[in-house]
Amino acid sequence: MAQDWLTRPHPVVVIGGSSGSIEVLLKLLPGLRSPLRSALIIVVHRRNTADSTLSELLALRTCIPLKEVDEKEPVEAGVIYLAPADYHLLIETDFTFSLDDSEKINYTRPAIDVTFESAAGIYGSWLTGLLLSGANADGANGLLAIRQAGGRALVQKPETALVDFMPQQAIQQQAFDQLVDIDAMIAYINGL
């Protein structure tokens, strides 16, 4: 199976967010067209209990398959993946997910930087990072890594973010190619 993905690569979008980002996802997901030609990976800061409420909530807003990541699961186009609570989410060179429960980064696990940086090394120019609303500096370094590896960095327009600290951090570090509102996010992902 892994060979399939080696010979037929597909775009990957990693979406990171913290406070105020669930509201964005609830508006963004219904706008996505099925079948999705990319793989969508969502990393949001959440309570560190292993409950499935968030994936159920998000799955209600889309007809695209949406699931919490299982360890060693292959990354496939057409699926929306949610990082599980209390683990960092990484990608292996054979395009499978790895989970890691090492130290919190930026006071959080999962950390957006960890997934952004790991995916950048694997997907290069096939990768887009999208950073949403949040009150934490997580994500900006990861966007830099994505750009360095040839991928694209999108940041939610601060004036549309419930909490604009996270987008502002990315902007201050010049870690973006484009500032986007929700409609532009939908159009971008549908256009991949």
Binding site: K72, L90, D100, D101, S118, G121
Partner: protein, 269 residues
């Protein structure tokens, strides 16, 4: 950042020079951890990092500790401990002697959590907790039973959510920012190095806990370790894994039955 080829060179060195086999560990996690140590050690090049590991055994020990994940906490996932308390331990009360193995115990927080459960269910006096890890250094810390006070408030809350009804602070004495747990617990614990990759079964157990260790292994090594646990498991013994780990897809699955919602399986065949 370390390249794929450089990482393979380092892993070969660690096996050839020090006998630690990381060849079946997940590369994504190793890459991050080696990068971190590379930055911390301020090595100007890969060659210098490699030379330091090969020429300095003390550094190599610390390096090995640094690339393995030693993060742990007391009563992590309280609902898991609640299931141990209410569903697992009651089935062991009739046994004259209870043997428990914590595989990959790190600094011992889970072992002390277990001892507290055994104490409260009246089983500690006839229990023995074997706690093993790859790293001698973390075992030294576990043996002392001394933990930082900082996360203790959260541990007390997790203890309560795990069905604990006593005053958590009765179990330790606080001293200059550290908490020393009662020696009554440590008396029931045996700490020893054990490498899940290369060491074999050493006893028969009623309960084996190995939580958030398998996520760092590839599927081959996972199967190897699960088989090791199976061979170390007494009849009707229990195997407990981390919240994202599973026996599904392993050769053990047909002979193990999962408890309702937690990652606990009982050997039935």
């Amino acid at each position: 950042m370390i390249s794929t080829d450089e990482l393979e060179l380092l892993l070969t060195d660690l096996l050839d020079w020090y006998g630690y086999d990381f060849s079946h560990y997940s590369r994504a996690s190793l890459t991050r951890r080696v990068d971190r140590l590379w930055n911390l050690g301020k090595f100007p090049s890969f060659a210098e990092l490699r030379y330091q590991i090969r020429s300095d055994a003390n550094y190599a020990e610390r390096f090995i500790e640094g690339i393995t994940v030693n993060v742990t906490e007391m009563f992590r996932d309280p609902s898991f401990y609640l299931a141990l308390r209410n569903e697992v331990l009651p089935t062991l009360t009739a046994k004259p002697f209870i043997r428990i193995w914590h595989a990959g115990c790190s600094t011992g927080e889970e072992v002390y959590s277990m001892a507290i459960l055994l104490h409260e269910t009246g089983l500690l006096h006839k229990s023995l907790l074997y706690a093993t890890d790859l790293n001698p250094e973390v075992l030294d810390r576990a043996r002392r039973g001394i933990f930082s006070m900082t996360p203790l408030r959260q541990y007390a809350e997790s203890y309560r959510l795990a069905g604990g009804t006593r005053d958590f602070s009765d179990y330790y004495t606080a001293h200059y920012g550290y908490a020393k747990f009662s020696d009554d617990f440590a008396e029931k614990m045996i700490f020893s190095t054990h490498n899940l990759v290369s060491d074999s079964s050493f006893n028969e157990f009623d309960l084996i806990l190995c939580r958030n260790v398998l996520i760092y292994f590839d599927k081959l090594l996972q199967e190897h370790v699960l088989t090791l646990f199976d061979r170390s498991m007494g009849p009707l013994g229990y195997l407990a894994l981390g919240s994202k780990e599973t026996l599904k897809f392993s050769s053990l699955q047909p002979r193990y039955k999962q408890l309702n919602s937690e990652k606990i399986w009982r050997k039935i065949g």
